[in-house]
Subunit: 338 residues, 4 copies
């Protein structure tokens, strides 16, 4: 089978990781790299002397040889680049979040459907062995009914100049939650602060309400002196803690829980807790992006719709938009469409 030709637009922070994987994969060819910045082009050209490096993304968008356009540019440019790529008959592999508004992301979804092109959003975490394992554990019913999902994703961050911390960090959690909880939130309330006069919040707390009394909460923050990547998922059978910075045991499943007994007098419930063993499943040690690219190539070759498609990206953008709306209204509870 002929190798799949991929053009990459954007060689900034994340683009080099895409380039490295596209170049190393025996099924794909890194045909062209476009970046508007001279220095970035120079670096790209030095690393990949056999690859065409250009300033103008139109070279990629219009190239007849290129099958897939990988887009790793700022969010504001996503819609226009992706739209043209699909219009020109190319598959798209695009950074998260899919677009800057839900109107844009909806349009891209429609367009991809019409044109029978794959629109895959790079929700990289869904291809980590940790998230795959968490999905598997929840699917198997090991945790029972999920009571809550709590994530802390903070560090001293590269403060973005075009989006606030929610649009930068929360897509990770929102795409993971979409994948492992398999339901959409019903409402959201967000509190946050902007301290440096940029009009873009550097810290935010998102509370999300789901069906069946499930609650989720995210803390995203660019102003933390320490890096934390810690997620708790409480179920009524077992509970799970995922520390993405732990080198040895990232995902720990605790056989712990709370038992509730009705008191004889009927007045109040009596609760006690149960502490059992912890199990930390072995996790494969393969780079997520490598897995994701393999999956993209499989989808293209097999004509298969990826699960991290435009719809998945659109669901994330819808929540981000509602989050901003709540944030600007002092945490007002915003209902989300079903």
């Amino acid at each position: 089978m002929a190798k799949i030709q991929i053009g990459l637009i954007g060689f900034g922070y994340w683009g080099p990781n895409l380039a490295r994987n596209i170049n190393a994969n025996p099924r794909s060819i890194l045909s062209c790299i476009a970046d508007i910045d001279f220095e970035r082009r120079e670096i790209a050209g030095n690393m990949y002397p056999h690859v065409e490096v250009v300033e103008d993304p139109q070279v990629i968008l219009k190239s007849p040889q290129i099958d897939v356009v990988a887009i790793a540019t700022p969010v504001s440019s996503h819609f226009e680049l992706a739209r043209q790529a699909i219009e020109n008959g190319k598959h798209v592999w695009i950074e998260k979040p899919l677009a800057a508004t839900s109107a844009e992301s909806a349009e891209l979804v429609d367009l991809a459907r019409q044109k029978h092109r794959i629109l895959m959003v790079d929700h990289t975490f869904l291809f980590t062995s940790s998230v795959k394992k968490i999905h598997e554990v929840i699917r198997a019913g090991e945790l029972g009914n999920i009571l809550y999902y709590d994530s802390v994703r903070v560090n001293l961050g590269l403060i973005q100049s075009d989006v606030n911390v929610i649009w930068d960090l929360a897509p990770h959690d929102l795409s993971i939650m979409d994948f492992v909880l398999e339901q959409k939130p019903k409402a959201i309330s967000v509190h946050g602060k902007c301290h440096f006069g940029t009009k873009l919040e550097e810290m935010a707390y998102l509370s999300l309400y789901y069906q069946n009394n499930l609650m989720a909460h995210l803390h995203v923050n660019w102003l933390s002196p320490v890096k934390i990547r810690h997620t708790l998922i409480g179920g009524d059978r077992k509970m799970l803690a995922w520390n993405d910075l732990d080198n040895e045991n990232k995902v720990n499943v605790y056989d712990k829980g709370v038992e509730v007994m009705q008191r004889e007098n009927g007045y109040a419930a009596l609760t006690q807790y149960r502490i059992g063993n912890m199990a930390s499943p072995a996790l494969a040690n393969k780079e997520a992006l490598t897995e994701e690219l393999d999956y993209l190539l499989d989808c293209i070759e097999g004509g298969q719709e990826p699960f991290n498609n435009g719809e998945a990206g659109h669901r994330v953008v819808e929540i981000l938009e509602a989050a901003d709306h709540s944030l600007k209204n002092s945490g007002k509870l915003i209902e989300l469409l079903p």
Copy 2:
């Protein structure tokens, strides 16, 4: 100087720690222990054969020898026990939270003032070397202006049957914040959930707004499989992380921050971050309760008003009350009196 006689009401979970310290302190005498539970009295009697152990707290409240009544009973009983103790001319050392409502706590404050009695609330954390050091660091201006205060206090908890998780765990943080931030919050919004039909939430997220753009957030949770006691305090000069479960370096001060530069074109601010050294100050290794009891005895002997007095306890109860109000109204923002 004659030893100060202390009677202890409540020998349940926390009472034994008070008893042990009162008994060991050379300036105080543990005169009497009262508990309504037979088994607890038996344990108390076995440990302190030289101490009177009784069922009826009135033995303590009315004893002419007793100078101080230490109260370690459920919150609902705080007001009545403390009121009687003060009315009978005794000083009071009472567990947090001070009372079940702000009306009650206000009345206790007034009564103590009228009767010239010390009403000291056992906000134990204020006497830890960690919190003392944090207070010192902030006071010295080392952190600059405080941008945020974030605390996670979660574990698989003893689910209380009379109060929700906020009344159980948040008083620790609220008293620490009152002490180190030296200002009162202006508004609060709280999200939380009760999963076990007890009508008492087991998990909650509190967002607090202060003057000068300072924001605080607390996550309190009885349903976490892992115990976390982690606080971040971000300033515009330095940042602090306090991990109370770290045996070696509990309080770490990071010379890290964000610098904002106005872009020449005036369109957007450009930020970059600065990463300097971390310093972890040496902390004394003395039990907080031992320090607190010494301070109580000092206050009594010196006729001095403690800083963790009824007013401090009342400020915490006011916030707890507002937190419940917000929680029952889906996170509605509740303004707090100045």
Copy 3:
């Protein structure tokens, strides 16, 4: 059944823990405390006003009421105090190490046997839920054949003035190894250093050889800036890591190992490793000393020989003595009697 009367000699560093447990246990009575230091007696008297506090240990050794003598004094005094106690018909509960020489410890063992008295050595760690679990895991064959035992026990220590770091810290590991490995070492080699002119080494590395290719190694050190209590036990089926300072998961059993395949050409063996799940068993949260005292009282009441008896203590002293011998001879390999 009448309560068992216990006299305690030594109220220094560890004695207060014995006193607290003896006092709290409903089956025992803390009859008398002896300490040669005035200040320690004052503290003891203040904490236990109902207990006789004396300077002269003979008061305890000769008291007709006392059933058990608990000895928590420096090692050099162990032999004489224990000898007299047994001669006077008392059971003995003695701190580790049992005695200052193997000749002394052997004599105590003989004497206790002749006099039908219990001689129990306070190898406290054997009563922790961690060591019990490790014992259970090894006994059940979960680890397979044990390949090695490695322990690091270091901290900035209270440098003893009468014994080196080996006699201070290694008895913990040696007693645990004696218990869980269920065999005696065949030879020992020790390297160490004394840096402060005290003629007592502050750091040492002990290598111990056992049957069946099993090797053990201990690092004990008073000069470490950080506290480490970490033990690795490698088996040919599974491997175990015990971090005694981890609050959540102290004992972790890894389904990891190495598989060896003979190469077809017969030249060299080919090895590969296997990485499976990790399991961290739930551990009871009871104070080890409380368990040990209960066991002592059971042994006395039931006329049962404790497993941590004089023989167990003697085996530890034999190794300590050989360790010193090797240390003084630059790590010379010293054979141990079977």
Copy 4:
């Protein structure tokens, strides 16, 4: 200045890291890759389509264009490859350990000197910001006199088929010690075990004696279920702990120590310890290999002798050889040449 042409022999475990850096560095050109394994060549060719990939290392050794030969092959082949490269007038950048025997490494050192070629050993750790900082701290006298150096380097390892664990892992520590202690050990004693019939030990404990009472100890182990990279350096002024797996604070300097006072009676020394602040210096976040390659290019362009030259590599090989000798003789103390 013309770019420096580098040929790489060995594209196995480490080689790809060299290739990536050589290719990305704007001052060097990756001219050719040689590997005897077909699959490895295929991978190399896929990643670097613009680079010649060959089976026979002679293509590189004899190429007139190539300035530097980078050697990342098994130790047994080091001597012959490096010898030919130098004979052919090329600079050599070679993996650790430099050679399989000290006779070989001495010969390479001589040859490089005669031919005025740079022979640089890839002791990568010397180019990490952690080791640079440790070197700087010790040089500045911050730790005072060094009392001990203790390293634990264990994990479930890729068991090598040609060398034991000492030759695989200890070169890291030995090269670091050579660099930061700035002196050679006087004697060594090693204990270890081989459990899988390969005649190559999978675990070993190395005790090294230096002048001035300084002692070093290394624990290297391929059979540990957990990965540990932890080094303690005790000085008489301060102490340092380096945890290479800690993402936040790798190098911690503790203002802790022991004070010794002569007792008045002259009988025994009295010691007490001092616990001050801890400081964790900020560390640059640049890949060590990138720094090392820059340094190599600097040395070549400037005609400068690298500090990690053949002599440094030879000193490490001498110790490895003595270590094996001690290991085969049950830990016999082996003296090292000054």
